[in-house]
């Protein structure tokens, strides 16, 4: 049996790069087309089993639930923000005042005595949804300016039964 001879190429071996470059370009184009630049989204959790209402609770809470009313004008903009029976006005200042009122009721953030307190949001039918999110956000807590961390006020948020449209 004769010995195997390695072919003597002499120079360097050229690996064909063209197919790899083709595939890499195709992958690049695929990922570029798939990319959708979207702002990061966050969420506010609410727990709402059917038929739940604040009166159904068997244990009397230490602190009464917080009721917030959002009244709209005909165009769906906020006309009045009410905390219980108190009118907090309108605009960003009203929402800041709402946060302050919630904080006053819970005492200190993370207070175990007020951990189970619930906020009920009662909004007009026509009111733009963004105002409800603002109200939910200001009840949920605030961002500490120093630490940039969330300081949580209330965790339990629910909606009052839906109202009927004004023109119905």
């Amino acid at each position: 049996m004769g010995s195997k001879r390695r072919p003597d190429t002499g120079g360097k071996v050229d690996v064909p790069m063209a197919p790899m470059i083709d595939i890499v370009f195709q992958l690049l184009i695929f990922f570029m087309l798939q990319l959708k630049i979207m702002a990061p989204e966050g969420n506010f959790d609410i727990n709402m089993p059917l038929g739940q209402s604040s009166q159904q609770s068997s244990d009397a809470p230490l602190v009464p639930d917080i009721k917030i009313k959002l009244i709209s004008d005909d165009n769906g903009n906020l006309a009045q923000l009410k905390f219980g029976e108190r009118n907090l006005g309108v605009g960003d200042g009203a929402f800041e005042a709402l946060g302050a009122e919630v904080l006053k009721i819970i005492g200190t953030p993370g207070n175990p005595a007020t951990k189970d307190i619930e906020v009920e949001i009662d909004a007009d039918y026509e009111l733009h949804y963004e105002y409800v999110i603002k109200a939910v956000s200001h009840c949920t807590g605030k961002i500490d300016p120093q630490t940039k961390q969330l300081v949580r006020y209330v965790e339990k948020i629910k909606f009052a039964p839906p109202r009927l449209p004004k023109n119905s």
């Binding site: 570029m32 990319l35 990061p40 969330l150 839906p162």
Partner: protein, 159 residues
């Protein structure tokens, strides 16, 4: 003085290495940045913005994403005042959406067994201009089907 042209007989091969380096870096960038999870989000829905809206640390085990918005033209102008649920590439009014929720329930139960619906979180992606009453109507429909956990989406706003 006469110029002499060099006489090359071999083929000139450009150096491909720097280009391949760059292309691989671009490819890696796009692969890392791409987010396949957001495919259920509908771009026609203009979510409200909020400082506190931070992406959740724990993702819900099962979720049903409902996009509620308006039919808009390319400039973003509303074509109709009636809110629409964008679902599976189709458009439904909130009043007509009940049967599809039933269908979602059946699918969830076929996949996860009886009671799977209790573990499902309904993610509501509602347009900032949708009337709250319409969102509540949709929540009510979900409640009637048996969903209890809801999550309201907003865009994270940086101060």
């Amino acid at each position: 003085m006469a110029k002499r042209r060099l006489n090359h007989t071999s083929v000139i091969e450009p150096d491909m290495t720097p280009m391949i380096d760059i292309v691989f870096q671009l490819l890696t960038f796009f692969m890392v940045v791409i987010n396949f999870e957001n495919t259920k989000a509908d771009e026609r829905v203009k979510l409200p913005k909020d400082l506190l809206a931070k992406p959740p640390e724990v993702k819900p085990a099962e979720e049903l994403v409902l996009n509620v918005g308006f039919d808009r033209d390319l400039s973003g102008r509303k074509l109709s005042e009636e809110p629409i649920v964008f679902y599976a590439g189709d458009k439904f009014t909130i009043n007509n959406f009940g049967p599809l929720l039933e269908q979602e329930k059946r699918l969830a139960e076929a996949k996860g067994g009886k009671g799977a619906i209790d573990e499902t979180t309904v993610i509501l992606r509602a347009d900032s201009e949708v009337p709250t009453g319409k969102v509540q109507e949709l929540i009510r429909k979900c409640q009637e089907i048996g969903y209890t956990k809801f999550s309201l989406k907003a865009i994270s706003e940086e101060k």
